[in-house]
Amino acid sequence: MTWLGRRDHWVFAALGAVLLGYFLFPFVAFLGRTTASAPAEAVSPTAREAAVNSLVTAPVATAVATVFGVPLAYTLARTSFRGKRLVEALVVLPLVLPPVVAGAMLLTGIGRFTPVGGFLAGLGLGLTDSRAGIVLAQTFVAAPFVVITARAGFASVDRRLEQASRSMGYGRVATFWHVSLPLARGMVLAGVVLTFARAIGEFGATMMVAFNPRTMPTAIWVEFVSGGVDATVPLALALLAISLLVILATQRIGRAPTLAGW
């Protein structure tokens, strides 16, 4: 605060407000399209099925991303090894790819006519056009968020705290549980929330891998194609409400702001 006086805070507030306004504007416009029958349409059988699919797959995808992503984040934060840059690039890659391309790539790997996909389909576990397929698509696209955010969280934990814990007789894993994870908790949780938000909203990759059974985003797309923007309103509102609720609940449980870490 050397060049900025106390009263100059409005500069930040004003610039931030521009973006906030831009965020808010489509919401308001969209809500303007809402008709009295929208809530009723949102509970139609098709809409309900889509909601159930989304609410089953997104948490599973988030759990999978967390279970495997947090250890990866910790490893990246704490060790250096040959080819680490390559690994880091690989983690960011799904973020950079257009989701449709990610979906196409997944299809070439696990599609019904590939060795892996074919084998599992033979066992009755179809990886495409199934909930499993939805989870795979969501995980691929959404997992980088938890890895990147948690990694930053672990990197901010003072290494000496872990060394102190080790010297007290705790192994690597125990030290992770008692020291590293609690101290990085805010950032890890922020990553989990971002991953969930990305997973439940995921459309491009999901559509390629599992157009059926429909999730809320794919159902919304189908509604849009057949009935235009107005037809998407009921489902879109439901998706919005569910996402908001989950994010608020997670924030409350973790008592941590989602982006700030602590």
């Binding site: 060394q163 814990s165 007290m168 007789g169």
Partner: protein
């Protein structure tokens, strides 16, 4: 109890530790002293198992632990700056350290209480680190490191970043805790005062190598080389010239000093500590082996004594201590005197003894 042999650590081309060896006996308090960047902390972390040495062995309690993970080494660790777990209270910090070693909760609780009382922190047990002052945090950290009843206590500049009064308090506290527990201690610092006042023995490190080892007194009074001599205390450097080879004689300001052995090179540095210099103002310059007329450059008061700097005829600046607040000012004449036995003579960094001084037979005016 602790012994380190040939410890070497290289990062790429950079050698941080060069075949360092040291040992600490059971119950001993040894200080690893050296300027910053000399490899002290790396040595400590290698002993604790947090840095993997390129070569060398570490053994604790007679057991080779070179390949053991930190949790299998029984080292208590106190860091340079706060390393208390911020998500735990003072009590929980100590209890956490204790937990893997004593499953009995009641006994654990009593021990935590005992440890916190040992450093007067019992009343603050329920506070989180951010509610404690810097000194209180160090105290908790000290007993947390002791909680595991470690074979070796390793302290890495634990007094850094505290104000002077607090440092002195804590220094006394560390000495007291060591007396009470008798724990084998390796203390790392760059501060000579801490090292000289706390330790049974000093190991002096420079550039990843041991350059001196011994009791504080022996190293202070008989430094093995120039680095140790100047690192352990301030001293004036008198540049003398070798005027004869057999016997080797060094000359400075009309005085000659007979050296023992055969010094390499003809530039001899004579080091002189301020407390070994007498002066004509207090009448302490007479009856000394060497007496030179000098001029006062500066006098600054430092509590019980003043530090006076004078310039000798050859331009050398000498510091000396004068009691109280002497009436000495820049430009005043002041004769200073010292004994040849108090000089440390170094040729090419290595020490050579001064046996005696004598008046120069001929003397070129400077």
């Amino acid at each position: 109890m602790l012994s380190v042999t040939g410890l070497t650590k290289r990062y790429g081309d950079e050698t941080v530790l060069a075949a360092l060896s040291l040992s600490v006996d059971g119950g001993e308090f040894v200080t690893l002293l050296g300027p910053s960047g000399c490899g002290k902390t790396t040595t400590l972390l290698a002993i604790a198992g947090h840095v993997t040495p390129t070569a060398g062995t570490v053994s604790i309690g007679g057991r080779d632990v070179t390949d053991s993970p930190p949790e299998a080494r029984s080292c208590g660790l106190v860091f340079q700056q706060d390393a208390l777990f911020p998500h735990m209270t003072a009590r929980e910090n100590v209890a956490y350290a204790l937990a893997p070693h004593d499953p009995d909760e009641q006994r654990q609780e009593r021990r935590v209480d005992d440890l916190l009382s040992l450093v007067g922190m019992a009343d603050h047990a329920g506070k989180h680190p951010e509610q404690l002052s810097g000194g209180q945090r160090r105290r908790v950290e000290l007993v947390r490191a002791l909680a595991t009843d470690p074979d070796v206590l390793l302290l890495d500049e634990p007094l850094t970043g505290l104000d002077r009064a607090l440092r002195e308090d804590l220094r006394a506290e560390i000495a007291r805790v060591h007396d009470r527990t008798g724990v084998t201690t390796l203390y790392v610092t760059h501060d000579q005062t801490e090292a000289l006042s706390l330790s049974d023995r000093l190991v002096i490190l420079d550039d990843g190598r041991v350059v001196g080892e011994g009791t504080p007194r022996s190293l202070y009074e008989r430094p093995p080389n120039r680095f140790v001599a100047s690192f352990l205390g301030p001293s004036a450097e008198l540049t003398a010239t070798l005027v004869s080879d057999d016997p080797p004689i060094a000359a400075w300001c009309g005085h000659e000093f007979v050296l023992e052995g055969s010094p390499p090179g003809d530039q001899i540095t004579l080091l002189l500590r301020p407390d070994d210099v007498g002066n004509s103002f207090e009448g302490t310059a007479t009856a000394r082996d060497v007496r030179v007329e000098a001029t006062v450059q500066d006098a600054s008061h430092r509590g019980p004594h003043s530090s006076v700097t004078v310039e000798a005829p050859d331009g050398t600046h000498l510091s000396l201590a004068v009691e109280g607040f002497p009436d000495l000012h820049r430009g005043d004449d002041l004769a200073v005197g010292f004994d040849a036995a108090d000089l440390f003579a170094f040729a090419g960094g290595e020490r050579c003894a001064v046996s005696r001084s004598r008046e120069a037979e001929y003397y070129d005016e400077p």
